[in-house]
């Protein structure tokens, strides 16, 4: 063997040794797992007897499943439609305020990020206490002379909005920091040039800041979409999908079918997970087109 070939083979071997831990995890818990899940989604499998092939029955069953059609699907869509725009807009406003000549900027930034490092379970537990019927939120409303006997998490009209609010509150920190970094990257000369041309502040914001932020907005909205479609922790801790299915989401329904039922429906849960994955993918592509094709006057 020529020394050159030996060196080359040595490099291949080294590379695969370096990559072996990743390849083990990737091969087992991603590649094999996705293939296995895909197979399971065409079977009936309850852990006690071997998987039984049933074709597309799991997918067609989704359309007749009241929990899915009447609760999980609309709740998830509602959740995404409210949380994603609200968290994006508030974090953009906060980042914009932080980007001004403000004192204590670092302190503000640090404090705003604290909700984002705290675990979803702890946040959910704290908010369950605050949104209790006799908790701090109702007490505050009472002081303001507003209706104050709302049982936030046990009322079918308020439970989902409460969870939305908690999630908006806890994700803004991360998004704000991404926006702030992007805002600080915009060269001052652009603003100066626009000002000399007589553009007013709002025109500058609309025609310089927003277009230059577009790729970052795309990134933040994608992150938001992915997170919102998968919302699980807060639902599990705060309401377990109740009351009357008013906070049931797709991710929670997957868990319920696979792990909480006395006869686990592993195949059905897998089929639902693939539908969720397709929904996330389509939503991401759609928003990419919307953000990119917005006219660039």
């Amino acid at each position: 063997m020529s020394p050159r070939l030996r060196r080359k083979l040595g490099e291949w071997l080294t590379a695969y040794v370096f990559l072996s831990p990743y390849l083990f995890v990737f091969g087992t818990f991603t590649v094999f797992a996705v293939g296995f899940a895909f197979y399971l989604s065409f079977t009936k499998y309850n852990l006690f007897s071997p998987p039984k092939w049933i074709g597309f029955a799991n997918y067609t069953r989704l359309l007749q499943d009241e929990d899915f059609i009447k609760h999980a699907l609309p709740n998830t869509l509602k959740y995404v439609a409210v949380v994603v725009p609200v968290q994006t807009v508030i974090s953009l406003i906060v980042a914009f305020a932080l980007d001004q000549e403000i004192k204590f900027r670092r302190l503000f930034r640090t404090l705003f990020y604290v909700p984002s490092v705290t675990s979803s379970v702890v946040i959910s537990l704290i908010f369950m206490w605050m949104f209790n019927k006799v908790g701090a939120v109702n007490s505050l409303l009472k002081m303001l002379g507003l209706p104050s006997h709302i049982d936030w998490l046990n009322n079918i009209h308020t439970a989902l909005p409460t969870i939305m609010a908690v999630n908006i509150w806890s994700t803004i920190g991360t998004m704000m920091i991404i926006f702030l970094a992007a805002l600080q990257d915009i060269p001052v000369t652009y603003y100066e040039a626009a000002m000399i041309d007589g553009a007013n502040r709002f025109q500058i914001f609309r025609y310089i800041t927003v277009p230059l932020l577009r790729p970052v907005i795309f990134f933040v909205v994608t992150m938001g979409l992915i997170g919102c479609f998968q919302v699980f922790d807060q639902i599990y801790v705060m309401t377990a999908g109740g009351p009357l299915g008013s906070t049931l989401t797709i991710a929670y329904l997957i868990y319920k079918n696979a792990f909480q039922s006395t006869t686990p429906r592993m195949g059905y849960a897998s089929a639902m997970a693939f539908v969720l994955a397709v929904m996330i993918f389509v939503a991401t592509m759609l928003q990419r087109r919307i953000i990119e094709t917005e006219p660039y006057e």
Partner: protein, 292 residues
């Protein structure tokens, strides 16, 4: 000159009213949001320092009165499962953080510096895998852990799938692509092999990137909920988030103890964040922009 003179009044007028309200307005936004961010944490701290029968004393108190450390005493001494959860969480988070940081650095180095067949394909597959929602692999991974590795209800079930992540390898790849190769080339000429180069030269100079990845990993692992919920089953083996939820549903009347216990989960991560915040902030900004 004439043009400037014609434009100036309009421009100035607009500047005057906006500049007058601008700074107060932004301070109002920032202070308002600070209150919204901090109040829940402050209230839970205050009420955790009061006797348990006062947990729904309203209107909200901003200072613990009557003061009591009872809740913390119960958490640490009377309720013997609690120290166990703290230990389990710490164990998992520390092991996952150390192992994942090293393995991801190794993988990233291979993708960034070595030539081998299948490199581009693997890299693309890795990027694509980040798009797969965890719900898809939830069921099969549960079955793999239960039936192949027989690790159900074992802390290793949480650790094993977490020893590397696509995100970590990707982040380290980008980092190694950004540093110059001259250092390694000199060592190669001196006859060092790739392993020596990696452990003696590369790892020490990637300190900043390693700390960033380690912090992210620790935060994620410490706060993780869904996967441990599925693979850990007896309360003795719970992590802190699982334990807190379990405790709250078993003893929902003892809410101030839940609040005290929650602090054991949130305080360490908040302290770590305050100490290392420049790493957190920079990495979020960098990964955010790199992800575009």
């Amino acid at each position: 000159m004439a043009v400037a003179a014609r434009r100036l009044p309009r421009y100035r007028e607009e500047v005057i009213w906006w500049d007058r309200i601008k700074i107060p307005l932004f301070y109002a936004v920032l202070i308002g949001w600070t209150i919204v961010c901090i109040t829940p944490f402050w209230l839970s701290l205050v009420y955790s320092l009061m006797p348990k029968e006062h947990v729904f004393d309203m209107p909200p108190k901003l200072w613990p009165h009557p003061f009591s450390l009872d809740n913390y005493r119960v958490v640490v001494t009377t309720f013997e499962l609690f120290p166990r959860w703290l230990l389990n969480s710490t164990l998992i988070a520390v092991v996952v953080t150390i192992v994942r940081t090293i393995f991801c650095a190794m993988g990233g180095y291979a993708f960034a510096r070595l030539r081998f067949p299948g490199r581009n394909l693997l890299f693309i597959l890795m990027l694509a895998s980040m798009m797969i929602p965890p719900q898809v692999t939830l069921v099969p991974n549960y079955l793999i852990i239960a039936k192949v590795f027989h690790l159900l209800d074992n802390l290793l079930a949480v650790i094993l799938p977490g020893i590397t992540t696509a995100f970590g390898v990707f982040m380290m790849t980008q980092f190694y692509k950004s540093i110059p190769v001259e250092l390694e080339e000199a060592a190669l000429i001196d006859g060092a092999n790739r392993f020596q180069i990696f452990f003696r030269i590369i790892l020490p100079i990637s300190r900043a990137a390693l700390i960033t990845l380690a912090l992210f990993t620790f935060q994620g692992s410490w706060n993780e909920f869904m996967w441990p919920l599925i693979v850990l089953q007896t309360p003795e083996n719970f992590t802190l988030p699982l334990g807190l939820k379990w405790f709250q549903s078993e003893y929902y009347t003892l809410y101030s103890i839940v609040l005290a216990g929650s602090l054991f989960n949130s305080l360490p991560i908040i302290i770590i964040f305050f100490v290392f915040q420049r790493y957190f902030i920079r990495s979020i900004a960098v990964t955010g922009l790199k992800g575009v």
